[in-house]
């Protein structure tokens, strides 16, 4: 059991930061919302209908960016983006949308280079690019600012602000403020008192 009695509502246009030391459940909460984990108690609601794990409607409404960059080193950045868009929508990604997305993080020059030559910073930015070329209302970001220099942090902040203004929602598990104001939850307040495992003793 990682946390309990946690509940919040997020309205369109709002950003929620998840604070807390490592292992306090930030990533777990994000992965739970993304539908990877099984909920022991409580429900995940969108509007008034509940979402279940592996529920296609759930996955079509969110973009999740975790710690490792889901990129195939053999393929170029453009091909990776094309494959991800096809995976999520079944259609090809528009070249204009892709060019704009690459431009946001200054990756235009690298679009046609195989990812295996990228530095880890470039790979991380390539992973964040998905928020630019995929149109989904809910963004789930796990430590998005790791390894970003100030210029790219600004780019990310701008991207997030634009998304919020368009009525999108963001949940970001991060320690440092990106400069985009938003509500905040500290996982420490929801540490489990009696863990499920106690019942074993």
């Amino acid at each position: 059991m990682v946390f309990e009695r946690l509940s919040f509502t997020l309205d369109p246009g709002e950003l929620l930061y998840l604070r807390g030391k490592n292992g306090s459940g930030k990533s777990t909460l994000l992965r739970l919302i993304a539908g990877y984990l099984r909920i022991h108690g409580g429900t995940l609601m969108v509007g008034d209908d509940a979402w279940w794990r592996g529920d296609a409607a759930l996955s079509e409404a969110l973009i999740y960016a975790g710690h490792d960059n889901a990129l195939k080193p053999v393929l170029t950045l453009r091909e990776n983006a094309r494959e991800l868009t096809r995976l999520m929508t079944g259609h090809a990604v528009g070249d204009v949308a892709l060019a704009d997305a690459a431009d946001v993080f200054g990756l235009t020059g690298l679009l046609d280079q195989p990812v295996r030559y990228f530095s880890s910073g470039q790979r991380h930015r390539s992973n964040l690019m998905r928020f630019a070329y995929l149109k989904r209302p809910l963004w789930l970001m796990d430590e998005p600012t790791v390894g970003l220099d100030t210029e790219n942090r600004e780019a990310l902040a701008g991207l997030m602000r634009a998304h919020l203004d368009a009525g999108g929602m963001i949940i970001a598990a991060t320690h440092d403020p990106i400069g985009v104001e938003g509500a905040m939850i500290d996982m420490r307040d929801y540490q489990p008192k009696v863990s499920l495992e106690e019942a074993w003793l």
Binding site: E60, L62, R86, G90, H91, K135, P137, G167
Partner: protein, 234 residues
Amino acid sequence: MTMAPQSTQDTSLSGIFFGIVKRDVRLAWSQGGTGTMALSFFLIAVTLFPFGVGPEPQILARIAPGVIWVVALLACLISLDRLYQADFEDGSLDDLALSPLGLTGVAAAKILAHWVSTVLPLVVISPVLGMLMNLPDGAYGTLLISLLVGTPALSLIGSMGAALTVSVRRGGVLLSLLVLPLYVPTLIFAVGAVDATAGLVDPTQPLALLGAASLLALVIGPFVSAQALRLSLE
């Protein structure tokens, strides 16, 4: 007002499905893919048998179907542990799980990609090995049919093993321990069919049983693989 995800209305599931198949076939034959590995293993391993058993044509002819099928099965097996593990390691399994197609559909697409990219080449090359092994002339047709009808079960059942061992380091050995017992029916029926033709007996019964085994694997393969993959995502 929740901003409706515009893409939901026109998500084409078939587009996703064949997108995954194309991607995986391409990856299998690109750098670090398993396509070439399985094919070269198949060729080398079969040619070992004459060295072991001796070149007498009658002996080779007698064991040809069994050897070709067992080595094809092993070649398929060694290419399976990277089926999901590669995606698991670089994090793209998370994206696959989020695809509107659903994990079962994704598993089916990856299994089809594995069959096309790794197993089909084995089937295409098998007549050449049949010659090496002095396979009786009449049996080539049934060998090809049995491989075409039987090998899907190898990919489908193997996929379950690969999904179960996706988070296991060096899961290849464990994968073979899990999957080989389940391969027994397919192996028995397939070799039975080819032996039947060699013995001028009608092979339709074993071929029918082989098809049934593949159909059962088709029913449980993708679903069980999806459940096992979901485990590794937790």
